[in-house]
Assembly symmetry: C2
Homo-oligomer: 258 residues x 2
DNA sequence: ACCTGAACACCGTTCAAGT
DNA sequence: ACCTGAACACCGTTCAAGT
């Protein structure tokens, strides 16, 4: 039951129906500023729609995002969005793109630090900051099918990864070593940040206690070790886990493979 | 726009509408075997439905699973499923449960090996085997909201985690150390297996080459490093990555924290 | 006891029609 | 040029009715 993908009549290579990256998250090179529509509504365009989608998911979660509701949020019927976005899937890809652009701005527009260790620290903390700013979006970053199979979540921007590899090159990593670092780095971030953002998405930095009741106590009674350990298991130790494992992983990157 | 959860009239604690764990994935203690319905159809029950859901997702992916299609697969209207499963969300939780039970059977019904290092190796390889058997289900295991916030994906079975902690206890880990191991272990598995299963879900152990064209070449031309490295980036190195990082992580667990 | 038909309130998406 | 109304083919879910 595959959806047929109709040929575009205009001769453009339809490809996989990606968004125009130029007008997505970034600002246009100062053009004619269409401010407001006669009706007083904000003028629609792809960037406006994608940013509103980001805001909406941040607030309500990705389950709640529908074309109809997003349209309503922008003062327009759902059908109007299809002029700017090919469909819901591409909208979600665009959301990921906006967030990755934010990451790029945060991590790549500054001078390289003195050591490659500091560089990796800086990059890791940048990605973590983004995942904490958008905990409800991070699962999308982590699990939407990427543009290329070798583009590993959560580092899903060609531009960002290019910059990352440039950085490694600057510190003297050869291509093979760089690939190894990129892989270890992405795996590390995916594991840590997906777990952390999952918690943070439901309870934005809330109390650690009282969570023990969350499982029906009858169930828990069957498992004595979980019973006694659940207070310890409930402690929020993500900060330490992240920092320790990050340092560990960075140390590991210093040793070249045979 | 919250969905109202109506009070059950039968006085049972409705709670969060979980499935009856007894009849889920496991076989019943030999009872009256209702084999076939008069019409010749397989008799419905929760276990049959959940196992069919697992099979269906393995084959078609989780996007394709709808109550209506699952019903059709079982020779029944969608509405008939609601007698055995509270709703779609709980169905998906049940799917996760079935897979976790499979993991339990694979890893917990055998004698403990000689060293805790071997034990962790065995557990890690068990989880990896499950993720490779159900690559299209693994994202559910990784990202459905768990029963308790401290129950970290992908290790989402109270029973399994209890067994894991029992194992650690047997090798002399004290409770604090065990929690530390559990956390590092789950983070490690989540990162590695989510990446690997994502690849494996679309291409079951397929060719490594030709993936380079997957990104429009025009895009890639902007990024010289990605351009030259994409062949290396496309190589399937998950086996080595997993084994190396696992050994590394196990080494790290030997050192107690201050 | 177990399943179905019909209905409800939603989806994403298309397209001719309005301004 | 840009948006809408109406329509289509789907969803999940409820419930009275059938057997």
């Amino acid at each position: 039951m595959e959806t047929e993908r109709p040929q575009r009549p205009d001769g453009a290579t339809a490809g996989s129906g990606t968004l125009d990256p130029e007008s997505a998250g970034r600002k246009r090179a100062a053009g004619p500023e269409r401010v407001n529509t006669p009706g007083g509504r904000r003028a629609l365009d792809q960037g406006v729609i994608l940013r509103e989608a980001v805001r909406f998911i941040d607030e309500h979660g990705r389950e709640q995002l529908t074309m109809r509701r997003l349209g309503a949020e922008l003062g327009v019927e759902a059908m109007a969005l299809y002029r700017y976005v090919p469909g819901r899937d591409q909208l979600l890809d665009g959301v990921v793109e906006v967030v990755m652009d934010e990451l790029y701005g945060m991590t790549m527009n500054r001078p390289l630090p003195g050591s490659w260790q500091e560089f990796l620290q800086q990059m890791a903390h940048g990605v973590r900051a983004i995942s904490m700013e958008h905990p409800k979006i991070f699962p999308l970053v982590a699990s939407r099918p990427p543009a290329a199979p070798w583009l590993r979540p959560p580092l899903r921007s060609l531009r960002w990864v290019e910059g990352f590899l440039e950085g490694l090159d600057h510190y003297g990593f050869d291509p093979t070593e760089s690939v190894r670092v990129y892989r270890a780095f992405s795996t590390f971030l995916l594991g840590h940040l997906l777990l952390e953002s999952a918690i943070y998405a439901v309870e934005p930095r809330a109390a650690p206690a009282a969570d023990i009741e969350f499982v029906e106590s009858s169930d828990l009674a069957l498992y004595p070790r979980l019973m006694t350990l659940s207070p310890q298991l409930s402690l929020d130790t993500f900060d330490n886990e992240f920092e320790d494992a990050l340092e560990e992983m960075i140390d590991r990157m210093a040793i070249s493979p045979p």
